[in-house]
Assembly symmetry: C2
């Protein structure tokens, strides 16, 4: 028996299931594998023998996953120990693989998952164990090295830019419009936040200021910029990353100083939105400040996803199986951009050691001198990744999403 195993890890995205379906479809078609197993809740679940034989499930029950957001196989944030210090987990894992005749393991995830791919493939080579390990990238944060971009980023960027367009229109209707602040995810990197620059009406970017973690945040500069812009146009639209920091390294999000509540008692403090709102209100610019934290919506909004992203996510999954059939192990399948107009990409193999425990930051050369906006190069980089819209199956007017029994 020659079986394979696929699992997901880390934070969900809109297209991580598309990568899973790429693995499944190619594994079903290539005749390399007798059974395709899913590991439930990533490596943590696999270590507890939570394996599910997908070959025993009618394909009709699975195919809807291509257009279902979030991690259908469950997820974990489990980091395996260093096998050089303690190899017991690896021994357990290999025993389970032997029990289920798993000869190839596909792991879809981000930084930590690629560290698992690296360690496990090192261990199998070291011990001469016939198990191939391949990594498939995913993260909305787009912070993985060695790949032009990550599956999941394009859809999140599209949703963020769309929501910014709509929030901008919503915040522009009164005589006195005030200031609107949107907070995006992205951890220590500004890729997601930068996608705000894509939001244009009549060809003009509508966001006044964009703040990324890669540009140290100056309180004085911020207040002066916002005050000037508010005097000029009686309205300011700001987008900021959750991870922006002052020059001294302190997170802006945690530097709150007082409390404000709106009519329904929403604390407007805390988070980047709250901190920036406080700076504006306390400096006397205006008290009319509204905020929006996009929260988990930005990583699971399949209803506003990018077809390009789905296609690429599917393709990295498919290619991982093809590479495994060629005997390849110990690599992550990365995306290489070939050209922008028309946009074309293919896949390449990269060493997971170059991905794991590294962070791909937003280039400082793509941030303006003022530290409050991004360059045309950044827009040109992101724009091809949000193109196209999938046809999502619907039922009763809502997306018809698929859930596996876990």
């Amino acid at each position: 028996m020659n079986n394979c195993l696929v699992a997901q890890s880390g934070g969900p995205t809109s297209v991580i299931n598309a990568s899973f379906m790429g693995v499944l479809d190619e594994a079903l078609n290539c005749n390399s594998y007798d059974n395709i197993y899913a590991g439930i809740n990533g490596i943590e679940g696999i270590l507890n023998k939570k394996l599910k034989n997908l070959s025993a499930i009618p394909y009709d029950k699975l195919k809807g996953l291509k257009y279902t957001p979030s991690s259908a196989l469950g997820s974990c944030r489990y980091k395996m120990k260093d096998y050089k210090c303690d190899s017991s987990e690896y021994e357990n894992l290999i025993k389970i693989f032997e029990e289920y005749n798993i000869k190839t393991f596909f792991y879809i995830g981000g930084n930590d998952s690629m560290d698992t791919v690296r360690a496990l493939s090192e261990y199998t080579k070291l011990k001469n164990i016939d198990v191939k390990v391949l990594g498939i990238p995913k993260t909305i944060d787009n912070d993985l090295m060695e790949t032009d971009h990550t599956p999941g980023f394009g859809s999140a960027a599209k949703f963020i830019a769309t929501t910014i367009l709509e929030s901008y229109l919503d915040s522009s209707v009164y005589i006195n419009n005030g200031i609107f602040i949107v907070e995006t995810m992205g951890r220590d990197t500004g890729w997601l936040t930068a996608s705000a620059a894509l939001a244009k009406i009549n060809g003009r970017s509508i966001v006044d200021f964009i703040y990324l973690p890669e540009a140290p945040f100056s309180k004085e500069k911020f207040i002066s910029d916002v005050r000037q812009r508010f005097e000029d146009q009686n309205q300011v639209f700001i987008v900021a990353s959750e991870g922006i920091k002052y020059e001294n390294g302190e997170f802006v999000a945690t530097s709150t100083s007082s409390q404000l509540h709106d009519n329904f008692g929403h604390a407007q403090l805390g988070g980047v939105c709250g901190s920036l709102k406080n700076l504006i209100v306390e400096s006397g610019i205006t008290s009319r400040v509204k905020t929006l934290e996009l929260g988990v919506t930005q990583r699971s909004a399949m209803h506003c996803s990018s077809l390009t992203d789905i296609d690429e996510a599917y393709n990295v999954g498919r290619k991982a199986v093809k590479y495994s059939s060629e005997g390849i192990t110990g690599y992550m399948v990365a995306i290489r951009r070939l050209q922008n107009e028309p946009y074309k990409s293919d896949t390449i193999l990269v060493e997971p050691s170059k991905v794991a425990n590294h962070v791909k930051y937003f280039p400082k050369t793509w941030i303006n001198k003022e530290g409050n906006g991004i360059s045309k190069e950044a827009v040109d980089y992101i724009l091809p990744l949000i193109q196209g819209s999938p046809v999502i199956p619907t039922e009763n007017g809502l997306p018809s999403y698929t859930m596996l029994k876990k």
Copy 2:
């Protein structure tokens, strides 16, 4: 000269511009009017002579508004004085109408706007002034009397249910999933919150508990329900209205008692989400509680709107012009539901005095005995209103929205 004037008021919706386009298209087609004016920023702007001749703008520059969310003509929250006490505003308004040869005024808005329609049409009749006034309903809250539902509600309900589906999947991936709370708008009524019940996977409603302002909120019952459900399924999904109240009338949103922050310093206090999170954490059920305030996204998400809603919004605008051509004044154009399968509606005329200063509450008979869920009747009522998706014009992968120069 026989000119007409159209304006918008109150909070934006995804389809308030569709109603405006209904007015514009019918006014252009019916030959009753020489010029069509827009009042910018509602009655407040009109009183300051902020009128714009739309007949002088090429139609190509306007047609995109049908699929553009928010109030393209600007808005206000201005309540005119009672003309019986002080008629100076009304005299000013009529002078401006005379100056611009305005013979009909179409006002698109909610409760307060219908009060303006009532007062102004009373005043014109009293003074024998040849100006017709017609009201066109809008609000995502669905809280207007005398109309089966309001344009704007269906699209907001669709976005809320879609986002709940996606947030539920996002919050279901880990071994220990914790509790997720979504907060919707709706002021004192639970219509929007009830739309959470539409979110189903494999035919099963995914939301565990729904809390509406119409059902007094019991802290003890809430804690007991959530504790039990969390023990049963290790995951609870809760949707609550911003306006829920304790039995003593106190808003749950403002009854916060302590402070919690997540890793990025988001205050988890304040608002209904914060209050409910506090109740859960302080009662020791779990500390794993995530929250999502939908904020303005729910009233401006044209990218996830209902075609039925857009069509009806457009139609009430069109019908208002038709009624005015028949000499009708002093009415609001309401929607009457004719049947559910297939869904059919038409328009009727209702007296704005029956709408203004009243609130249509969610029926108590549609709330379950436990006060934490809604009945099938409610789902059957909402479901037809979210059907169909418009084809939104796009540019570079994003919606191509239209803004008027104000």
